[in-house]
């Protein structure tokens, strides 16, 4: 128990040190103690900026061939903090700036606290069933995180594969993987190193939980600023918090993404609203400091998640299009003002440093590997050919989508009141809507459902605007009528929302099957060497992606019999299927010989009979859900 308490204290100290303090000092260096940011804004921005600062620090450590470990991270952080503090001291006298008007009434504060309470409670309840480290994606990501922790270096994202050439099967040399980006792993590695927590524990999911909560705040502070000119702007922001916090707590790239370990999307949903926040404030307040932070955060996003970066880039283009549409001839005058911001010393400095970093320190992996080419072009699979409108509605949630669409229509009709705000929400919405509905129009080749999840944030902004516009801005309507209609609408949206959330909570998920997978992993770690080639089944073995985290031999080891439908592809190797499904066949025998595969892990309830009546296999391990066979050399 004492050990647990000590471990928890160390974990929260690590979180504070790694995920809040660097960003806080960066903001201090830029804004001093001015009141330009509210406490809540500082809290949220510190988190996002810390993630990027940590990424940069760790990449630089690696570039200068310094080992990434607890000491080097702490020393670098201290140096970063001293640097930021020195800048703050130098610019201290210029601290007088306008104050950020985001203080709430007592009632509003109580409501916000209540919403936050439910937002955290719903997520925590959901996660209580899925907190054990079992998510497939999380397992993939934690392999790389552990690799950084164990080697003290940034890993080469490579894997070996079973390949077929001229009817001969072999194991390939390691080849580059495009799917992973270093920013997804450095934060976890640094927390793991400082807190001494094992990656196969609750800490990655709890960190994702925090990222998700802070993503909720990032949309909240964006809404605060977007609608600050409206008399009911704060109520819109509170409605946004209610939607993103409580109504969308689980579905739509939130709670379910935490337990699944969809790190990139969660980080994207944190950073994209922050970037819009910085650029919006930069342009509306003509403030180059915000512009430089917008560039800095965009730069950080590029090192964190390729899909989010791609979606953000498209959204930005659409936002610019809507600004052009709404501003007309004024647009070019606007551009002049923007250029003045861009050519300010701090923005130029950030761009210069960014370029140096990009070309001389490290490029994002997907640029280096030219992986961008793989997501541009005609849809290569039906899953990339776009979602139907019904599917999009289902992704977002019907009631919430309805309200969001009303908001979008209202913004289109009444855009003149708030041109930038309308352009931002509309551009953000339409870019993602078209990417997920008709990707061919934009010539992109990405799974449409993954893009569809990004619709939720602009839909929330539009929906919150709609509900407040309808009920707060109509002074000529009867008060009682308004209240009744408001309650009915909230009930409709909440019922729809909570019903879809309830489907996400599946107590059956709370099982301990993964324990047996972890047990066989530890056994094989002890009993096998790098010469042994292990094959496991993904269809029926629980938490199988975590096996590689125990073995730490290669990202692709153990090899996997994947979902059976995947073998329908004519270009896919069939060895991993044959060696488990029909191990006595001549094809499988050839695969065993040519790949050297000698250990097979299966779920005995599904796949034991084909091995048990063969003299070529020894059954060496037996538990309720795991059977392991060894194929000795003849």
């Amino acid at each position: 128990m004492l050990n647990f308490i000590f471990n928890q204290i160390l974990f929260y100290i690590s979180i504070a040190v790694m995920l809040f303090i660097p960003g806080y000092f960066l903001l201090l260096a830029i804004f001093g103690k001015s009141k330009i940011l509210s406490a809540l804004e500082k809290f949220t921005l510190s988190f996002g900026l810390s993630i990027i600062a940590i990424d940069i620090i760790l990449i630089l450590l690696d570039k200068f061939r310094l080992s990434i470990n607890a000491n080097s991270i702490l020393f670098s952080l201290i140096a970063f903090i001293i640097l930021c503090y020195a800048v703050f001291l130098l610019r201290k006298e210029k601290s007088a700036e306008n104050s950020s008007d985001s203080d709430y009434s007592k009632k509003q504060t109580s409501l916000i606290i209540l919403i936050i309470f439910f937002s955290i409670l719903i997520r925590a309840f959901f996660l209580s069933h899925t907190i054990a480290p079992t998510g497939t994606d999380l397992g993939h990501h934690m392999y790389w995180t552990k690799k950084i922790i164990e080697t003290g270096k940034i890993p080469a994202y490579e894997k070996i594969e079973i390949i077929q050439k001229d009817n001969v099967y072999s194991i390939s040399q390691p080849s580059a993987i495009d799917d992973f980006i270093i920013g997804e792993h450095l934060v976890f590695a640094s927390i793991g190193l400082i807190s001494k927590n094992d990656v196969a524990s609750a800490f990655p999911s709890i960190t994702l939980f925090l990222i998700n909560i802070m993503g909720m705040f990032s949309l909240f502070i964006l809404a605060e600023k977007l609608f600050s000119s409206l008399s009911y702007g704060k109520n819109i922001a509170i409605t946004v918090l209610f939607f993103v916090g409580a109504l969308f707590a689980l579905s739509g790239s939130q709670g379910n993404f935490i337990s699944g370990g969809v790190i990139g999307n969660l980080l994207g949903n944190l950073l994209i609203p922050l970037i819009f926040y910085f650029f919006f404030r930069a342009i509306s307040e003509k403030n180059s400091a915000f512009f430089s932070l917008g560039i800095f955060t965009s730069f950080g996003l590029a090192y964190t998640h390729h899909l989010s970066t791609f979606i953000f880039a498209f959204s930005l283009i659409f936002v610019l299009f809507f600004i052009l549409l709404f501003k007309g001839k004024e647009f070019f005058l606007e551009i002049k003002k923007w250029l003045a911001l861009i050519f300010s010393p701090r923005v130029l400095a950030i761009i210069f440093l960014g370029v140096i970093f990009f070309f001389f320190v490290r490029m994002p992996g997907y640029i280096e590997n030219q992986a961008v080419k793989t997501i541009v072009g005609e849809p290569s699979r039906s899953t990339k050919a776009g979602l139907s409108l019904a599917q999009i509605f289902s992704t977002v949630g019907e009631s919430r989508a309805t309200l969001g669409i009303i908001g979008i229509i209202l913004l289109l009709v009444f855009f003149k009141k708030n041109k930038y705000q309308s352009a931002l929400i509309l551009g953000w919405f339409f870019s993602i809507f078209i990417m997920s509905w008709k990707p061919t129009l934009l010539h992109i080749d990405i799974p449409s459902s993954r893009i569809g999840n990004y619709l939720i944030f602009p839909i929330i902004l539009a929906g919150a605007f709609a509900i407040n516009w309808i009920f707060e801005d109509r002074h000529y309507l009867n008060r009682n009528w308004k209240l009744s209609a408001f309650l009915i609408l909230i009930l409709y949206v909440s019922t729809g929302g909570f019903m879809s959330e309830a489907q996400s909570i599946n107590p059956k998920k709370s099982n301990s099957n993964f324990i047996e997978t972890f047990a066989i992993s530890k056994y094989l770690k002890q009993k096998t060497t790098a010469e042994d080639i292990i094959l496991k089944d993904h269809n029926y073995v629980s938490a199988d992606s975590w096996m590689k985290v125990f073995l730490m031999r290669d990202y692709n080891l153990p090899f996997t019999r994947s979902f059976l439908f995947r073998y329908d592809s004519p270009t896919r190797e069939q060895c991993t299927l044959w060696m488990i499904s029909q191990p006595k066949s001549s094809e499988a025998k050839k695969c065993f010989t040519q790949t050297g595969t000698n250990f097979i892990i299966i779920n005995p309830h599904y796949d034991s009979s084909q091995f048990s009546d063969s003299k070529e296999f020894w059954k060496i391990y037996s538990s309720d859900l795991i059977g392991t066979y060894y194929k000795p050399k003849k």
């Binding site: 309470f117 925590a124 939980f209 059954k619 060496i620 391990y621 037996s622 060894y630």
Partner: protein, 119 residues
Amino acid sequence: MKNKAIIITTIIFFIFSASSLAWIEKKQSDENAGKNWWVLYFAEPKNDKLNFIIENHSDENNFHWEILSSKKKIQEGEAVIKKGSVLQLNPNLTLASENKKITILVISKDEKKEIYKNL
């Protein structure tokens, strides 16, 4: 000030729920707490040796083991293994001839598990 109240309550809610989740995960990851399973495996899986291990994470403590040579029982015994304990058994066998399937069969209550080597 109200902003700070929001931040402080968020931190408190988060730490409370995250600590609860960490505690739940600790319990879920404990091989014994609330679990009922056991496992049988060879101590040396890659060679001819028949040393085997029973690792008990179940509430049942009594185990019966048998060694079969081509389905014929050649040795048997009883073992008491407490929950969370491991027992290694090293059978001393002289096998008459090769080409035999040597099976280790372990029974605990109604549950049966076997491992084997084709020697």
